[in-house]
Symmetry: C2
Subunit: 224 residues, 2 copies
């Protein structure tokens, strides 16, 4: 009963903090959210031991929101349409990032203090990449991926470790290319959101669609 009030309070704090994040940026002010909540600043500390803990909670929420969006978008595509599922993942990431730019910056931008992100975030952070792994895994068991890997041993070790988490039975060649696509996807979104395309790419949407389609083909997913 008292616990429910407490949960509502923390949710309300996080909601206001998220709103402040959206309007101002990463420099979140505890006193400002307390003011908006009609409460004195020290009261916030009953619910979050420090500003960094609040940010960590927002980070976990952001990872979960992104993961949920990716899962929903990918889940709506016919399971047999591997390329469609891949493209759904890519566009879900970008769409969510464009809709929540500051939350994206919170999780994929420069880490704010020294290193906030504790271990509690990793499970939520894995959700979206797990979806991609599932696609590669499904493509692997469907036998549509050609294994043309000739990776050096040290690099193969890294790829294999990633694969063991998200796509255990996928061959290393396509897995390595999928990893590259993942990096390119977030490189694109980060460049777009952080203003690196200034004076170079005006309307990034079509370019993004083309790049991701090319990546699907490069990985070896069947051209739908």
């Amino acid at each position: 009963m008292r616990a429910r009030l407490r949960a509502e309070m923390t949710d309300e704090i996080k909601a206001i903090a998220r709103r402040h994040l959206a309007t101002e940026g990463a420099n979140l002010s505890l006193r400002a959210v307390a003011r908006d909540l009609g409460v004195v600043s020290s009261a916030i500390y009953r619910y979050f031991p420090s500003r960094d803990e609040l940010l960590t909670a927002l980070i976990i929420d952001a990872y979960d929101a992104l993961g949920g969006a990716v899962e929903a978008a990918e889940g709506a595509v016919d399971r047999a349409d591997l390329t469609g599922r891949f493209l759904a993942v890519c566009h879900a990431v970008r769409d969510w990032a464009l809709a929540n730019p500051h939350e994206y910056a919170l999780i994929y931008g420069s880490p704010v203090p020294g290193y906030a992100a504790p271990t509690g975030t990793v499970t939520s952070a894995l959700r979206s990449v797990t979806v991609l792994g599932g696609i590669i895994e499904d493509a692997s068991v469907a036998g549509v991926l050609r294994d043309d890997a000739q990776l050096p041993a040290d690099a193969a070790e890294d790829v294999a470790r990633v694969g063991s988490i998200v796509a255990p039975s996928a061959p290393l060649g396509p897995l390595s290319r999928a990893l590259g696509s993942w990096l390119q996807l977030f490189g694109f979104v980060s460049f777009e959101l952080f203003g690196q395309f200034r004076n170079a790419v005006d309307v990034p949407g079509p370019l993004f669609a083309q790049q991701m389609r090319a990546q699907a083909a490069y990985i070896g997913l069947p051209t739908a």
Copy 2:
């Protein structure tokens, strides 16, 4: 004469600010650098009208440092070794980022306030990507790039605009793949520096080398 003293003073401020940036992070304190400089905080304002202006100066310096490092590394490779030049660029970016993580975060992380980066930064920001463009351009005039482009018109427009700046005579297909490699390169470095590889990639070096070699081949650069 008085101007030279002034230049030395601004250089010293920037040097101390850079040192603070390296030890603490992005939240640079004007009062702290003033303290280290043995001067009162308001004196800094004689040289930089605001903290954001100081950050902007550091950003421009960082872009120039990265650009210089890339130019030097690429210039040391035999001009005919196109793949070697490409790999030199990739590794120069990563090496510089690993050596100056906070300055990398300053220019390729989330923009600190609303939007600091003014127009003065773009010329410095273009230096590194121009080097890559030169490689693609050289490969194009050498006739080693196969033009297998079938880009949709809207995406082709974006690619062509980028190409007109850095590699005017390159065909759109390889240019589009080179753009993707550029995004993947910075996606990799950002993931590595910002802790996104946690529990997944322990020793990113070999993986990076393999990914960039694969990209060189994918673009169509001759396998040395």
